[in-house]
Symmetry: C3
Subunit: 259 residues, 3 copies
């Protein structure tokens, strides 16, 4: 990110000064700035649409928001690789397409912070959701990546760890610090990129963007926040759920672990 900001600054510094620019150069610069604003708008649109599709179990439509080689990682469950697996995950875990009586699955999206790379082909978004489902309430936080293919923005990576998860009765008392995502099918293609626990533990998902005033990259602090890094059902996992594991702030967001 720092690299990206420096690159943009460099570009600005070496571009032709405004006074001696030709009309065509000026037109191109305005065009680029408008394109960036349109891109930010479109990236937000994909994220917000995702939320509306989850609300009503529109899994096929939802999977179409993803690029062919996109990844998805939600709630500590591990990585699903590719658009088809995104669809399989949703339909296996949450049932066939469509809303259902007695099911509430609202994933209400807000506080979006979109960004676009200088070359206009990669995007990022930090955002969050307030989940109100009949199963409980949760607060996922997203750090997603987007790709522009043939002029269309799509999810390249969706990463949504939870900040809190609780029942409908008493937020203060009943928060679960682990949603045990291994207890339901399907299993992921890769283990989670980051091991974490939710409130009363915490995890700071690294920011894709620098401080908007200073331009400094955000370096999260380090602490014991994790669990779920041992085979499900083993004593090692049971122990891990209690003690956690360091989730270092300098680890990449949602990149597959190196081995």
């Amino acid at each position: 990110m720092v690299k990206r900001v420096l690159f943009a600054t460099l570009l600005a510094a070496t571009s032709t000064p405004a006074l001696t620019q030709t009309v065509d150069e000026k037109l191109d610069q305005l065009d680029a700035r408008i394109t960036r604003l349109e891109d930010l708008d479109q990236i937000e649109r994909v994220q917000r649409t995702y939320g509306y599709f989850v609300d009503k179990g529109q899994w096929t439509q939802l999977s179409e928001l993803f690029a062919e080689d996109a990844t998805l990682e939600i709630g500590g469950k591990g990585l699903f690789l590719g658009k088809k697996r995104v669809l399989e995950y949703m339909q296996t875990a949450f049932g066939p397409d469509g809303a259902k009586p007695n099911v509430l699955a609202n994933h209400m999206q807000f506080q979006t912070l979109p960004d676009v790379s200088p070359d206009g082909t990669t995007g990022w978004l930090r955002g969050r959701a307030f989940v109100m489902s009949n199963a409980g309430w949760g607060l996922p936080l997203y750090e997603d990546e987007f790709v522009k293919e043939d002029g269309v923005w799509k999810f390249k990576r969706l990463t949504g760890p939870f900040t809190m998860y609780t029942s409908w009765e008493g937020w203060g008392k009943n928060a679960l610090n682990n949603t045990w995502p291994d207890k339901f099918d399907p299993p992921p293609d890769l283990p989670p990129s980051t091991i974490y626990l939710t409130y009363p533990a915490y995890f700071i998902i690294p920011f894709h963007y620098p401080n908007p005033v200073t331009g400094k990259a955000f370096l999260p602090d380090k602490d014991d926040v994790g669990a779920y890094h041992r085979p499900p059902g083993t004593p090692e996992q049971a122990e891990a759920l209690k003690v956690g594991r360091p989730a270092y702030g300098d680890q990449p967001i949602a990149e597959p672990p190196r081995n």
Copy 2:
């Protein structure tokens, strides 16, 4: 909506190629793209302002956000026709202008998805609110239409069915699947355009916009979701509240019923 997208695609395909465009043509195209972004921003602004006005019972100010011939339909109550009736509805149902002690009416707006027609005179917005009122909590979902008159965007149609409505004690247990909007005055000018029940039933309000990646229009599925389509106070209505009625996904949003 598909038609609208095709039209835009056609426009792009038949417009003068960039290489041979004159400076004036380029300026006009940039102008049009900026105008679209400004329009999207202004449509969101009207929707968000609406929420702030509801919060504090600013009914006169709120009604001024509507075009003279606008319609309003909230919570299954039926259609109010025209700006004056919007004001009358608010002041009759919720009291005179102004905030009041012991009254909380927060209508917190978010997840806005605005759109503008190619000719720049019609707009749409999907959005939602988290209502925290002293009477209860609710989750309205909006599919609204806007019109640009003399350069100013206004509500042309506000349609806000509820996804859930409940008391302050226990969301899981106490959700009401019908808010019985006929029990309070004033009566609407026309019956509801769509008959639906809230959670634990459901209603998918049709999307005004296509899938942002595939461009395909959204076709909601069909199911029994409705009630309140019989005269209030009759045995027929009482029965309807239990059994519901199909709300077909292909019915128009908030257009008055044909008979």
Copy 3:
């Protein structure tokens, strides 16, 4: 605000008609419109980033979002003057930088309404947050001012009175109409600019922007809404907490009281 709108209208009316504009004049006008959209985006970004920093106790990063001479006033506690005092307030009241186990401090931001002055150096934003903290739940409403210094938008004034504050158990029954901000350190540099109580009392924080359709400035009504305008711990304060004090709608937002 009315003045600002009139000024903008005047500008538009007296500028060179589009037909006789030179290419350079047209380019400059498009540039100005794009800059405005970029500014609105950046102001929203600073506000939303503020929320993410509060979530995780990133007080140093948060203070860097403020201009050197910025002011901060939250929850009726009084004014803190300058960036350094913003940092001191946060670290004294809420502990050293960093997230902590057993602490939840989510300040989820939404419903942002940004604006920019015609000269492009001053900005405003109305917005709100849904606070979910382990201490309780709250609904702050923001009316903030921003300044553009060396091309970078920063907080010039953050004003965040609460609409409601309550415990995790029962929103209806347990709402506190005063959060007694004097009970925790540090003391502010100046007393609160506005005296108010939260639900079941109310306070309409004046709108920085006019009705987006009529252009009319918003004049909040007047009522008994206040308390906390007597020395803490005195019988006068205890009495004030019961009876309130008029908070006139025409008083300036967050300007220090005149004596």
